[in-house]
């Protein structure tokens, strides 16, 4: 995907954009890897790999509910996505 000029948007940022668009923008709207995989049509292993990188960059955060990891986007992650279209 491209947003201006000839530089493509990385897969990781595109994935972050999808997480935003499906509504994972607050802890109470967090999803599990399986749910994310279903919504985005990205395989669970690939989704987990991308989530770990986004966690490291602090664009995504995680909480544990009943022993299951649930992911949501941080304020910085939201801004990162919105910067593409503003």
């Amino acid at each position: 995907m491209y947003r201006g000029g000839s530089m493509p948007i990385s897969d990781e940022i595109y994935f972050l954009c999808m997480l935003h668009n499906i509504g994972m923008t607050a802890p109470e709207k967090s999803l599990t890897i399986e749910e994310i995989s279903r919504w985005t049509a990205v395989e669970p292993a690939k989704a987990e790999e991308s989530l770990n990188r986004l966690l490291k960059a602090k664009y995504v955060d995680v909480r544990i509910v009943s022993g299951v990891k649930r992911y949501f986007i941080t304020a910085d992650g939201i801004r990162k996505v919105l910067s593409m279209y503003s």
């Binding site: 995907m1 491209y2 947003r3 201006g4 000029g5 530089m7 948007i9 990385s10 940022i13 954009c17 999808m18 935003h20 668009n21 499906i22 509504g23 923008t25 607050a26 919504w39 985005t40 049509a41 941080t74 304020a75 910085d76 939201i78 801004r79 990162k80 919105l82 910067s83 593409m84 279209y85 503003s86």
Partner: protein, 397 residues
Amino acid sequence: MLDRAGNSMDICMLTWEYPPRIVGGIARHCEGLAKTLAKMGHTVHVITLDFPGAPQYEEVEGVKIHRTSVELGHPSFIAWVFIFNHFMEKKIAMISKEVKFDVIHIHDWLVALAGIATKHYLRLPLVLTLHSTEVGRTSGFSNPDSYLIDGVEWWATYESKRVIVTSNSMKREVEEHFHLPQSKIDVIPNAIDTSKYEVKVDREAVKRRYGIAPDERIVLFVGRLVPQKGVEYLIKATSKIVNSHPNARIVIVGDGWMKDHLWNLTISSEHKHKISFLGFLSDSELVELTLSSDVLVVPSVYEPFGIVALEGMAAGVPIVASNIGGLAEIIEHDKTGVLVYAGDPNSIAWGVNRILSDSKYASWLVENAKRKVREVYSWDAVARRTAEVYEKSYGGA
């Protein structure tokens, strides 16, 4: 000030970003405008999107802020935009049961669908502020989303009674690209609250906070890290700046989808240790850092206005900016700043070095720039002119 008949207006302002949801300049523009209109005696309802930690409803300095939650999602950004516009319409429909709005004011394409639907439903005049265009942001279309966004922008200009743009260059762009009649367009610049820069800062403490040595001179960039902002050309100018001024440090504030590319460009450069990426900063942190800087560079390759230049001018920081769009209208070369060629690292380095080499020249630019900001870019003047546009739009929806 109220309208010419002395009446207070009920204004419905739609924007996808409003503090603390700050992405680009739109949030600050809407905040400044809404607060000043409220101060003038109008009732301003801002309909915006939710953000972590921000309440669903609050009143700040007289502005009634309604934040919309988006209850459905879809991986596609465009689908998400259509969905959030639906929830905005629903919110406005609920508010309009108790409030009789006089005018709807939308900011950019992102809220156009909700604005247009509300115009027809409530039979109200619609005013659009076009802060930028898709064709300008993307330097030409490269995917179907851009064609759709361009279409929505055209549709919004067609449906609006009046179209506000922030510079003459933007007016020309809108006239040519959307074939919009000149008589429908009003040019009203952005503005700035200069009082927030009237604070004393401990420059050494601010520098320490970001790992900058006390004797280093800050060459600041503030903005979204996207191609139109031209940050890569500043990074490429670093060698020529540092060779002339070894104590210069390039400080990049902001985030965006291009950050990884810019980071890779930095770590492959000779002077990578002279470039700092600070990410997104809060308003107060940004004010302190700006006041501690020696030069502010605005190297955009597309800039309908360039509010960051005004912020630097108000803060008393000499500006180096691309000689394009709104920047070329705000800044008078060699009087209120230094204009350089867009997309040209050599030219940017020349401009920065000129300022860093001559403190008397830098001080002279700063004094002229401060005066110009105070005289031309005040929120009172901009809000008064916007209210006049609202009045003009009353001629039937």
